[in-house]
């Protein structure tokens, strides 16, 4: 064949090579902090003091993980993160599920079961997304106090649901607005009512956006520090607040290995969610942005 084709082929190969090289470097750069954290968490305290930060652990030990999970002192209590980790689960699961379900219902109603004033309601919900967290701390604390829910996990759940509804409604509304209304009409003609149509047609047809909503909400709720430190107290703190307290309540010098292990434990669930459901996240976010 002609030499022209070969040149193009070679230069194509060469540019591929550079692209992959750059991507590989970027990946290493991003994974670098994770490596340092993991490596440090498996080292003994002595090795950390003498060795260099980047070295691979010489005496591989799980002690710091055991300590971070069940023995380290947080304030005066020396039983590790495990209780607080459980708090975070107890908080995140209901908050994520309830806000997602409410968001789906809202999105369904705002697009397919409209009522007078639906644009205003949606506008107010959108507005809710942009209210800074700090500005609602005091009014929210007053409301929770009145409801006798201050300091507990239930109160925290309610705060997260309230804050989450704006976002989840936005997700589902934008997804359902692209579902043809005639599908709804067809189901009505077949004898289906409001909840039948919602549960049997709209929910199964919107799994990607459920994934987006769940990942988004889970990340926000799990990683939240401000609401946790403001509205929960004592034994009810979520793991993020406990991590902060653990790192700050060292008695005899910094235990970097324990801190690192504790940080990884705290971040693990959100990492896991992204690894397991990340592809749905991208798919769901793209859905509707391009006409199929």
């Amino acid at each position: 064949m002609s030499t022209n084709d070969n040149i193009i082929y070679v230069s194509g190969k060469l540019s591929r090579f550079f692209i992959y090289a750059i991507l590989l470097l970027a990946t290493l750069f991003y994974l670098f902090p994770l490596y340092v954290m993991l490596a440090t968490s498996f080292k003994t305290l002595d090795e950390i003091r003498i060795g260099d930060m980047l070295a691979f652990p010489q005496f591989f030990t799980l002690d710091s993980w055991v300590n971070a999970w069940g023995k380290s002192c947080i304030g005066v209590e020396c039983s590790g993160l495990k209780g607080y980790f459980l708090n975070s689960i107890k908080m995140a699961l209901p908050a994520v599920l309830i806000s997602t379900i409410l968001g789906a219902l809202n999105g369904f109603i705002l697009t397919k079961w409209r009522f007078p004033g639906h644009t205003l309601i949606f506008g107010l919900m959108l507005f809710g997304c942009f209210i800074p967290f700090q500005s609602i701390l005091i009014p929210m604390a007053l409301v929770l106090g009145k409801l006798k829910l201050a300091g507990g996990i239930t109160g925290l759940i309610i705060v997260h649901i309230t804050y989450g509804i704006g976002f989840t409604t936005l997700f589902f509304r934008n997804y359902y607005i692209n579902v043809p209304t005639e599908i709804l009409n067809a189901a009505k003609m077949e004898g289906a009512g409001f909840f039948t149509i919602f549960l049997k047609i709209f929910v199964p047809a919107s799994l990607p956006i459920f994934m987006v909503s769940i990942i988004w909400q889970f990340t926000n709720v799990w990683n939240d520090f401000l609401f946790g430190v403001s509205f929960a107290g004592g034994k009810n703190y979520p793991v993020t607040v406990a991590l902060n307290n653990l790192i700050n309540s060292t008695t005899s010098g910094k235990e970097y290995n324990v801190d690192m292990a504790a940080a990884i434990i705290s971040a693990a669930p959100t990492l896991l969610v992204y690894v397991l459901a990340g592809k749905y996240f991208v798919r769901g976010l793209l859905a509707g942005s391009v006409k199929k």
Partner: protein, 362 residues
């Protein structure tokens, strides 16, 4: 026996009147086509009958029972949509069984019915596919099958064939026709395609601008259009419309601003009466100089093989002629035209006064 009755239905969207008082009585088993230009309110009327839209005033009766405020899901009607509206996440089989399942119909019975329906519609091999894997024609057949499985008291079609290509449209039209022949279920069919209306309907309801212009059997409407709109809307190519006036003798119709004159026959009109003459393209013959009513210059010829359509101009008037003869004429040639018949409309009211047939009364 009257199955479906629409009584003085009106619909306003804010300040626009979409429907301005529609009355319609439909007999059991009848195939009614609601025909009209886009924006005439025909789809709104269908949606009110379906219960997907609420009327501003008026009533809908089904077998004597007032169903005006009954929710769509309780009306036992089946609807086929232009966009098919299949459930995208369900396979064809599940699209079929969805309705029967939520209505808690017997599963074995449903399965049997689905297989029968699929056989009628040649969909046996598609049952395990998703809607997105099907062609447009197959999707429309699934939508049709889903409506059939409803076992409805009434079929509603909302421009069901508009998204299909010409050939498929013809095939589906015959399918719908034969299904109606078999099931004899009262059908309301909305379209803007006059060919579908003419071929499918027992009666056509011709709508315009929120009103019913005329109701009647297809050929009755074609032969006896009530007014100018009806005459213009049905027929392809369009009817030729000329302004005319009864001359002083009262015996002739003179076309305004021209020397063309037609004898008045079969009806006596006052001298000076202003008219609009409607001449169907097939009622104009290409003739010879002696027999012709007037000469015209050819502007354009569409030869489609079986039928030739000639656009001509006579003293500034546009004339449309259709003929099965092949005419060998080119732009600017003079043709001598003979008119076999025409509709006379009152210029002021647009209503048809009379129809002249020169073949019977030469």
């Amino acid at each position: 026996m009257i199955d479906l009755e629409i009584k003085n239905i009106k619909k306003n969207f804010e300040k626009t009147n979409i429907l301005k008082g529609i009355n319609l009585e439909i007999n059991k088993g009848e195939f009614i086509v609601i025909l009209g230009p886009s924006g005439c309110g025909k789809s709104t009327l269908l949606r009110i009958v379906a219960g997907l839209e609420t009327a501003s005033s008026g009533h809908v009766f089904l077998t004597g029972k007032d169903i005006t405020v009954l929710p769509a899901r309780e009306r036992n009607m089946a609807m086929v949509f232009q966009s098919y509206a299949l459930y995208p996440h369900l396979k064809v089989y599940d699209n079929f069984s969805y309705g029967p399942n939520i209505r808690h119909e017997d599963k074995k019975q449903t399965d049997k019915k689905i297989k029968e329906t699929a056989a009628v519609l040649n969909l046996e091999d598609q049952l395990m596919k998703y809607p997105k894997q099907l062609s447009g024609g197959q999707r429309q057949r699934v939508a049709l099958g889903r409506a059939m499985l409803r076992n409805p008291s009434c079929f509603l079609f909302d421009e069901p064939l508009s998204n299909l290509d010409a050939n498929l449209r013809l095939i589906m039209r015959r399918k719908i026709f034969s299904i109606h022949q078999d099931l004899k279920i009262t059908t309301l069919y909305v379209t803007h395609d006059q060919l579908e209306a003419m071929t499918l309907a027992n009666r056509i309801v011709l709508m315009n601008n929120g009103y019913v212009e005329q109701i009647g059997a297809p050929l009755d409407i074609y032969d006896k259009p009530k007014n100018i709109f009806t005459a213009k809307f049905l027929g392809s190519p369009n009817i030729t419309l000329l302004d005319g006036i009864i001359d002083a003798s009262g015996k002739n119709i003179k076309v305004i601003n021209s020397k063309i004159v037609f004898p008045l026959s079969g009806v006596s009109l006052e001298a000076g009466q202003e008219l609009v003459l409607g001449i169907r393209p097939e009622d104009i013959l290409v003739s010879n100089k002696n027999e012709a009513n007037f000469p015209a210059q050819v502007e354009f010829i569409e030869a489609t093989g079986g039928l030739s359509i000639i656009y001509a101009s006579a003293e500034g008037c546009d004339i449309r002629i259709s003929t099965t003869k092949r005419i060998s004429a080119t732009l600017g040639d003079t043709l001598y035209l003979k008119v076999q018949g025409m509709h006379l409309f009152d210029k002021k009211t647009s209503q048809r006064i009379s129809t002249i047939n020169y073949q019977q009364n030469p």
